[in-house]
Symmetry: C2
Subunit: 333 residues, 2 copies
DNA sequence: AGCAAGAATTGGAACGATCAAAGTCCGCCG
DNA sequence: CGGCGGACTTTGATCGTTCCAATTCTTGCT
């Protein structure tokens, strides 16, 4: 394993100076064509690649974006975040960025990790997920001056008009609206909604889509509630389904949808239209319709906010776009 | 956002030299107690943290481990790898290491990424997943001198006795053996196995556990095959289940298990014992038993191979342990 | 007190890249 | 022929840390 070549080695081979090699790499336009070609072939011959640490040290840029990985909580819906991370990694790679993942079990620990990453200059920016009302991370990041984008809007503020920070999110209401319209079109008018106990921004947003679609269709249906667990959801709707109180059910998540599906099978109505949210492998396997969040689009939006439409460095002040709201897609099964 | 403090700042405040501050951080034992305390409080006062890039440059160590993120393929079982990555991130953090994720769509692209990460000295080691017979990555990494561990054994060689490289894996045969014994104990003697088309090391290993357990119990049952897809599996076993050809079914994956479960419901035997493999959220939701891979243990084993039992730097020659084989745990539902 | 050996600490150099500013080359005009 | 300007290239300094070798301080012993 020979020592890897440096700019000096390339310069010697090409018969130019260090800086010219650097220019070929970073500012090719100012180098004369003939010189540039000579340098490029020297680079190719030696298999030269700039040493990341040296460049980071000098430029004070790490070309790295940090993102938290939740402790794996189990449950059906954890998958969505993982898909987002995958997509982000691909897009970041295309823009010459790296993704660094870090673990934290609590918000406090996450702040500690963020502080460390920032102080040690390991990341140029971070992406935070699962924002909630009164989230301490956003203010901290803002004070710290570390560029960031959140996947999840800053609930409680004027998100769209005057957001406190750049964010990307999925339009939950649009998703459940489409789901509800679909249910109305293939089943009866009594489309129920099974949501989470109110208070979570995401859950309320998804419920809104259902109620708006129902109002627009001048009909109504029952609204049920359960925490995000298959068994709980199943129990919660068993009685109502036995009484044939709904023609279809739109749910705030795939876990809930699976619970409803199982209860429907028990109640002898296995064909009851049920729509979930997240389009996880579990509902795919069961043939249940769901709302697909399009994590790829979310990832693309995230990087656009951080780096501009085509940039390859983190913009000091995230671009004019203050937010990106992705319209999800209903997957009918 | 003030400029962050450097060793020199700390040295000035503590009234010592640069090098002494460095010693306090890296070789505390050689610094006199009183001096060390003075330096430590200066560090705390200033909130000093070493600049990662500068340290990397000097020490030629990045304290970073790279790992590939597959393009999200859909399907039930992708989750296992994600859980592994999560666990690895946690354990690595505890040992003062970072995890860098990279994307690649093909093995060739993965080699290109690995070359880049190695040449630019961005990682000290990598973890590769999903090894297969004739995998080009292992030889390349070996030649390149980049330390690595694979999740998945080097199929085809003498894995255990004289492995060509350090690896960690889950003992698939032990998992299906436990599953089969459980099935025999709660159902009849005709325990079937639904596996993948033979040829994949992992699949053959899992099948072996079933056949060994059946032989030990002096019984036998049908062996079926399907590619890893819920619908395909369902179709593959529908007829056999209709004919009541098995008392229980052990499967090579959760996708297959779900397919079998659905076919069993269709056939009017919803209580047919089915055991999957991977313990994904999908089978949890459906109440199907499964073999849990224990990704946390796999992650711990991976780092142990790379860094030694308690080390916090990548060992130049991965430790005496040449492999770790994790015994999975049967989760009965 | 004098001295040697070990412990503790220090200043200079280096890691490999980019920035900033100072050259060099060349043709062209007065 | 000298000088000017623009295009291109080179030189020296720097980022923040750790390595290396040299220096100073302690301690114990004669």
């Amino acid at each position: 394993m020979a020592k890897s070549p440096t700019v000096d080695d390339v310069a010697r081979v090409a018969g130019v100076s260090r800086q010219t090699v650097s220019n070929v790499l970073n500012t090719p336009s100012i180098v004369k064509d003939s010189t540039r070609q000579r340098v490029e072939s020297a680079i190719a011959d030696l298999g030269y690649r700039p040493h990341a640490a040296a460049r980071m040290l000098r430029t004070r840029r790490s070309s790295t974006i940090g993102i938290h990985l939740d402790p794996y909580a189990g449950g059906v819906s954890g998958v969505v975040l993982d898909r987002f991370v995958h997509a982000l990694t691909e897009h970041a790679g295309d823009r010459g960025m790296r993704m660094l993942v870090y673990a934290a079990r609590t918000p406090e620990e996450e702040l500690a990790r963020l502080a460390e990453l920032a102080d040690r200059a390991e990341v140029d920016a971070v992406v935070i997920t699962g924002t909630f009302y009164g989230d301490p991370r956003t203010g901290w990041l803002h004070r710290r001056g570390l560029p960031f984008v959140s996947f999840g809007r800053p609930w409680g503020d004027d998100d769209v008009g005057q957001p406190s920070h750049p964010w990307v999110d999925v339009d939950g209401a649009a998703g459940t609206r489409a789901a509800t319209e679909h249910a109305l079109s293939i089943a009866g008018p009594r489309v129920a909604f099974l949501g989470w106990p109110s208070g979570s921004g995401t859950g309320d947003d998804r419920e809104r889509g259902w109620s708006e679609a129902m109002a627009a269709a001048r009909t109504s249906g029952p609204r049920w509630t359960a925490v995000d667990d298959v068994a709980v959801a199943r129990d919660a709707v068993t009685e109502a389904l036995g009484g044939r109180q709904a023609d279809a059910v739109v749910c705030a998540s795939d876990s809930l949808a699976i619970g409803v599906h199982l209860a429907a099978v028990d109640a002898g109505i296995p064909r009851l239209p049920v729509v979930g949210f997240d389009n996880t492998p579990a509902v795919e396997a069961l043939g249940i319709s769901s709302v697909e969040q399009l994590p790829e689009r979310v990832a693309a939006g995230t990087l656009e906010l951080l780096m501009g439409p085509t940039g390859n460095v983190v913009a000091p002040h995230p671009s004019g776009l203050a937010h990106v709201l992705v319209t999800p897609r209903l997957v009918v099964r």
